[in-house]
């Protein structure tokens, strides 16, 4: 059984004058030990899906339907108390903008210890220090950062601390929402290498949300491509990145530079995301798709499997 099985997930943001369908019929399964990359342009609903899995979407302004099976439990129906048991011990995360993930007026140690004590009531100073020491070692940070305030650390150090924090209880699944976006390439690749090592050592399953195809190519064995709230293609990284099926994936890959081969102009995809507050009867990408046929505007494409584990949602066959 898959560790995480998302089935027909719909998430709507309810605002006064309109609604936004941020996740539209998303189905995705993540096996234990997987490292899956979620890609797609800004606003495609990646963070929304992650927040939904984490049970952190505001209840009063969102509507969720579908199923999210995690270790056999449906997270969509799970109560706050039910979530409390999963949090950080089985399910943890590094959030987008993790630079602001620490309170500016508290020392790093207080914040780390407080989180530790939530799940280990009555842990004494020494136990906390030992825990923090081991975690900081994992991300190559010196012990001295414990006594500092966040403003005394660099952005990269704070992101390392955020990553260290999510590894605190060796959870079954970690979700990294653009955990390394704000870093320079050297630090980024260093952290990614450390992360891959940690993952291989402890068997943690990892969901990596990113804009960076190089990150996917380097650290994810599977990839899921999202566009305008829908999943358009998913499969093994090695296959999807070399022979993308969906026109959106093709466009996305053409927007990234490669070092191999001869110099060519980056293509990009003309146009922008459709308005998510209206119903889109056909394919969400049809309006920007270079190959769109009439059917694409009227009928919603279904996810079809070409090879085991490799699916895409497009009416037109492979080209």
């Amino acid at each position: 059984m898959a560790l995480l099985e998302i089935k027909n997930l719909d998430v709507r943001y309810i605002m006064k004058e309109r609604q936004v369908l941020a996740c539209d019929d998303v189905s995705l399964s993540v096996e234990e030990g997987d490292s899956i990359g979620i890609v797609g342009e800004s606003g495609s609903g990646k963070s929304t899906m992650a927040m939904c899995v984490l049970g952190l979407l505001p209840k009063d302004t969102t509507r969720t339907s579908g199923e999210i099976l995690f270790q056999g439990e449906d997270l969509v129906k799970l109560t706050e108390q039910g979530f409390a048991k999963l949090r950080w011990k089985s399910l943890s995360a590094v959030f987008q903008k993790s630079m602001n993930s620490l309170s500016p007026v508290h020392k790093v140690c207080k914040q780390m210890f407080d989180i530790y004590r939530v799940h280990t009531p009555g842990a004494d100073e020494n136990a906390c220090k030992a825990m923090a020491g081991a975690l900081l070692d994992k991300v190559n940070l010196p012990q001295s950062v414990l006594n500092l305030y966040p403003h005394q650390l660099s952005g990269g150090m704070i992101q390392r601390i955020s990553i260290a924090l999510c590894l605190m209880f060796d959870p079954a699944l970690i979700i990294l929402d653009e955990a390394t976006t704000a870093l320079d390439v050297v630090t980024e690749s260093q952290i990614l290498r450390e992360l891959t090592k940690l993952r291989e050592a402890s068997g943690i399953t990892c969901m990596m949300i990113t804009h960076n195809m190089a990150v996917v190519a380097g650290s994810c064995d599977k990839v899921a491509v999202m566009y305008a709230g829908r999943l358009v293609e998913t499969g093994m990284t090695a296959r999807v990145l070399t022979e993308p099926r969906h026109p959106y994936t093709q466009g996305l890959l053409a927007s990234f530079p490669t070092f191999e081969g001869k110099k060519q102009a980056l293509k990009g995809i003309p146009g922008s995301l459709p308005d998510l507050s209206g119903e889109i009867p056909g394919c969400v990408f049809a309006y920007r798709c270079p190959h769109a046929a009439e059917r694409c505007f009227n009928e919603k494409p279904v996810m079809t499997e070409h090879e085991p584990g490799w699916k895409s949602a497009c009416w037109l066959g492979p080209r």
């Binding site: 989180i115 939530v118 403003h151 005394q152 924090l165």
Partner: protein, 321 residues
Amino acid sequence: MARYLLKRFFLCMIAVMFSVFINFALVRLAPGDPISIMAGIEKPNPLMIEALTKKYGLDKPIIVQFGMYLQNVFRGDYGFSYRSNLPVTTLISERVGPTLLLSLTSLGLSILLGCWLGLRAARKKDTLFDRFFSNLAYVLDAMPNFWLGLMMMLLFASTLKLLPTAGMIDVRAGYTGFQNILDILKHMILPVSCTTFLMMPGYYRIMRASALQAMNEDYVTLFRAAGMPRKQVFRSYVLKNAVLPVVTMIGMSLAYSIMGVALIEIVFAWPGMGRLLLDSINKRDYAVLSGIYLILSISITAATVLLDAVYAWMDPRIRLS
């Protein structure tokens, strides 16, 4: 932090010097004879002229005059009120107590109440509680303070006869000891609640807004995801972050808090500086006016530096930079 505070201190010293200088320059630059301005009468008698000329060195060059003026100010000599025949310091020190009693009590109450209500409203955003107090804050803001004072006086003192109308003590009763304190407290109820009603909305609003903002910060998401109970996140993290803007606001509104009660003092015949100020304006008692101005600017500047220190101590981003 020492450097930060030293810098603040120097800036404040400059501000004080500036206000002392303005005070000095105003009399001398104003049309007419400085002596008659200082004496507060059209034709001062020769003895008075001689005394003033000597004291302020009015026959000497302007630089020397400023030096002498500074000397007087730092010695605590703020001049003599020829109207009341008393030194200005005596006049002011008699009045400073009641004003501080009224303004600091109201300030403390409005900070406590405003912050408490603001925090609750933030936690219960968009509930009836929040809507009620947020609207009440606007209504109170739009209310002139003397009008609210008069209305409360009319209702509680004149009509219901529950509380005394005016003053700080019941002179005829001549209470002493504990009875006296009780009497003062009874007299305080109306002016203090009136002032509190008017100062509270500011603290309510800023506390509510900054708590709401702090509750939306990314670290709150992290702590929630890490399984920390909402209450603990609020008490241990949101509170400490949210309270900083309130400290800033206290510092900024300190001057207003102390002099803003002037109208209330006048309405309730409270024997404080507000009354003294009004009387001195009516009597053209320049010495008293400039004394009040100087003492206020110096003490408010001092209090501001103190609050800056408190702020710096609370915010590591300043303390450790």
